[in-house]
């Protein structure tokens, strides 16, 4: 490593702080520039980060800079496709925030473009890179719960800022099920070895008004191997909660992110065990970011990009998450079960909910 790889951020929202701080914690990386829809916002945030600013109008210029090696796409979801392709065209490796894109066709285009350009895509499911999930997975692989039968994933909080793009169906593509369900689903899948989800049995949603995004969703899924999964997401909770329960024929494992402190417990016929894991909740900036997965994620992607190996969370995972969540929107509309393979390639989740 001669000099740090340069990171350019596309998007100046809340999550841009996590990416900048994680890059700051990694000597192999250096955040150099940031773009936002509004020049004013780009300049404001870039000034705080001590990096250069540009607007989306001059995005190509930023991506073409000699000192930019990696692009982080953290713009509103509707723009991920365009921004990711722009970064690929500029020959950059790309980290894409979740959910990856709005439609399966967009996901396929991104995968094809990255392959052709010989660049790599990291899908930013931060929780997959936490010490908590790593330890939980380790215990499940070691047989702590026996044969996995059911997974319950819950992610809820009070929602993003009311005036933000998250509540605009055209920019967000969906609500809590797409935003928080993306975490809940992918982490649940990681915990049990990423089996193929075949079917959404049922999905119930509550919307923000008649045509607004979904504020809450509960979705029952089935995998090819017969594991049942429940994904519960909410932007309407008074208190934050985020936990993963993995039920097997020999016990239950619960990995809890929220409420803090994080914890990992395994319950079997022999009793309950609190499992230690490194870097739990801590009042240090870097260990806190590690406990949320941002530092591990950033380090992993940087290593993969350097060594040209496919990241553990890749565009393929992003596409799969979108497909399963989109099937949930279809099931919510029809009140019937939906085969995941039947999701049309060109419709956004909210369009599937509207029918």
């Amino acid at each position: 490593m001669n000099q740090p790889a340069g990171v350019a951020l596309i998007g100046a929202g809340f999550i841009s702080y996590m990416h900048v701080l994680a890059a700051r914690a990694d000597p192999s990386l250096r955040a150099v520039a940031l773009a936002s829809r509004s020049t004013q916002m780009a300049e404001h945030r870039a000034r705080i980060f001590g990096i250069d600013a540009c607007s989306f109008d001059s995005l190509a210029e930023m991506l073409a800079r000699d000192d930019v090696d990696i692009a982080v796409v953290a713009s509103p979801v509707a723009l991920h496709h365009e921004h990711t392709l722009a970064a690929i065209r500029a020959g950059l490796h790309v980290v894409v925030e979740k959910p990856m894109v709005m439609t399966l066709a967009e996901a396929a285009q991104i995968e094809a473009a990255a392959r052709a350009a010989k660049v790599l895509i990291g899908y930013a499911e931060n929780q997959a890179f936490t010490p908590l999930v790593a330890k939980a997975r380790e215990r499940i692989v070691a047989g702590a719960v026996g044969r996995v039968q059911r997974v319950i994933a819950v992610f809820e909080h009070g929602g993003p800022p009311r005036r933000s793009w998250f509540f605009d169906p055209r920019l967000a593509g969906g609500g809590a099920h797409l935003d928080l369900g993306a975490h809940a689903l992918e982490v649940a899948l990681c915990l049990i070895g990423k089996p193929r989800v075949t079917r959404v049995a049922v999905c119930k949603m509550a919307r923000d008004g008649e045509r607004g995004v979904d504020l809450t969703a509960v979705c029952e899924l089935e995998t090819a191997s017969g594991i049942q999964m429940q994904i519960s997401s909410s932007w309407a909770a008074r208190k934050g909660a985020c936990r993963y329960e993995v039920h097997g024929d020999a016990g239950t494992l619960t990995a809890r992110f929220e409420p803090a402190p994080q914890s990992l417990t395994v319950k079997t016929a022999n009793g309950e065990e609190d499992v230690d894991f490194p870097g739990g909740f801590d009042l240090r900036v870097d260990t806190y970011l590690t406990s949320l997965g941002y530092i591990g994620q950033t380090r992993h992607f940087a290593e993969c990009f350097r060594n040209r190996t496919t990241p553990a969370e890749s565009a393929r995972d992003g596409e799969n998450v979108l497909r399963v969540l989109a099937a949930g929107y279809m099931a919510a509309r029809t009140s019937r079960s939906v085969e995941v393979a039947d999701v049309p390639p060109d419709r956004t989740p909210i369009q599937l909910l509207d029918g």
Binding site: F14, Y17, V20, L21, R24, A25, Q40, E43, H44, R47, I48, F49, G50, G158, P160, P161, R162, L283, R284, V285, D286, Y288, L289
Partner: protein
């Protein structure tokens, strides 16, 4: 004194309502509030109607308005630079930016460069520098006196302890946790830029306390006692609940060529205030006491104790009605209308923020066991 300057206010929070507007109203022959802007439409509308100003939702529109002569920037700290730069670009006649001028020296320097290039006087709102008692202390102490020992203490409680007494201030009725969360992230960004990501949340909160509170004392220290040569010692202690600035203590010892100054900041959930400083040298002991915070008309006092004719003399200097805020705005007027040199120019405030960063780095390095 004929001209009445038109003030545009960006940020209508409690400091604007309880301090600046009262002060500007008391100086109505010199100033009138022309326009004001705030993120909260409710607060902006109420403040505008109270002082007969126009409400302008877009702060950049307010800054660009030719009917605004002087801009007061009293937004959350991380926006100061954005609006100060816009005011320089708009060639305003003067800008008063609340302390801290920016969350760090780098951002402050950017404003200073713009002020220099545009020729727009940008002053930092350090009311203590303008306090009559401090100005008297500077005179009594003299320019070249060698300091033996100084003690700066700020023991204060959280703002709501005092703003509850500031009558009829209005707060946004919308409960939105996001601006406060982003403001905290801004201070995480500033603190980690200064001292790296391997710091605790108490270090982040202490950075906020240094930039938000100790920043009052540093420019006074530099003006009265001169520039310290270095930091001998800095410690941060967090004795309160986790993730809360309550219970934070900061101790700094500054080295001087022939003496030292101990600067102490204590932030506890009490209303009583102990804020001021002592300076000693042979034959003179100066004491300055500040009044309670958020009190627009309370006086500060300066006591000079010395020996004369075999007697110990205590000389007390206190203005009954004059305050730092009134003096500050009078000075802004003198800068604009009389061509006076700014007493708290933005270029000099860079140094204050450099001290904030140096104190932080020294305290963090102490906690890491890196004694130098």
């Amino acid at each position: 004194m004929n001209e009445q300057l038109r003030v545009g206010i960006v940020g209508c929070g409690e400091a604007t309502q309880a301090l600046h507007i009262l002060t500007l109203n008391s100086l109505a022959r010199r100033f009138r509030v022309e326009a004001c802007s705030d993120l909260s439409p409710e607060v902006m509308g109420e403040v505008a109607s109270r002082c007969g100003a126009r409400a302008v939702a877009d702060p950049l529109e307010l800054i660009g308005d030719a009917r605004v002569d002087v801009v007061l920037i009293a937004t959350p700290d991380s926006f100061h630079a954005d609006f100060a730069l816009a005011a320089c670009a708009a060639k305003k006649r003067a800008v008063l930016v609340e302390k801290p001028a920016a969350p760090n020296a780098r951002m402050c320097r950017e404003i200073a460069v713009a002020a220099e290039e545009s020729g727009v006087p940008v002053l930092v709102g350090y009311p203590h520098v303008y306090e009559p008692a401090v100005q008297r202390a500077i005179e009594i102490w003299g320019p070249h006196a060698a300091l033996a020992y100084g003690e700066f203490r700020c023991s204060l409680g959280p703002n709501p302890r005092y703003t509850a007494d500031a009558l009829q201030t209005i707060r946004s009725p919308v409960r939105d946790p996001w601006p406060a969360m982003i403001a905290q992230l801004d201070y995480i960004a500033a603190a980690t830029e200064a001292s790296g990501t391997g710091i605790g949340m108490s270090h982040v909160l202490a950075y906020g306390l240094l930039a938000g509170l100790t920043i009052h004392d540093i420019p006074v220290l530099r003006r009265v006692a001169g520039e310290p040569t270095s930091i001998d010692y800095a410690r941060i202690r967090a004795n309160g609940p986790p993730m809360s600035p309550l219970g934070l203590s900061i101790d700094v010892v500054f080295n001087y060529p022939r003496g030292r100054v101990w600067l102490q900041c204590e932030f506890h959930d009490v209303k009583s205030i102990d804020w001021g400083f002592h300076l000693r040298r042979e034959g003179l002991h100066l004491t300055v006491r500040y009044p309670t915070t958020y009190a627009a008309a309370a006086p500060s006092e300066c006591i000079a104790r010395y020996e004369k004719d075999g007697m110990t003399v205590d000389e007390r200097h206190a203005g009954r009605y004059e305050t730092g805020f009134r003096r500050e705005w009078c000075h802004v007027y003198d800068v604009v209308a009389g061509g006076a040199a700014p007493m708290t120019p933005i270029a000099d405030a860079v140094k204050d923020l450099e001290w904030v960063e140096s104190i932080h780095r020294a305290a963090v390095s102490h906690d890491r066991g890196e004694h130098t």
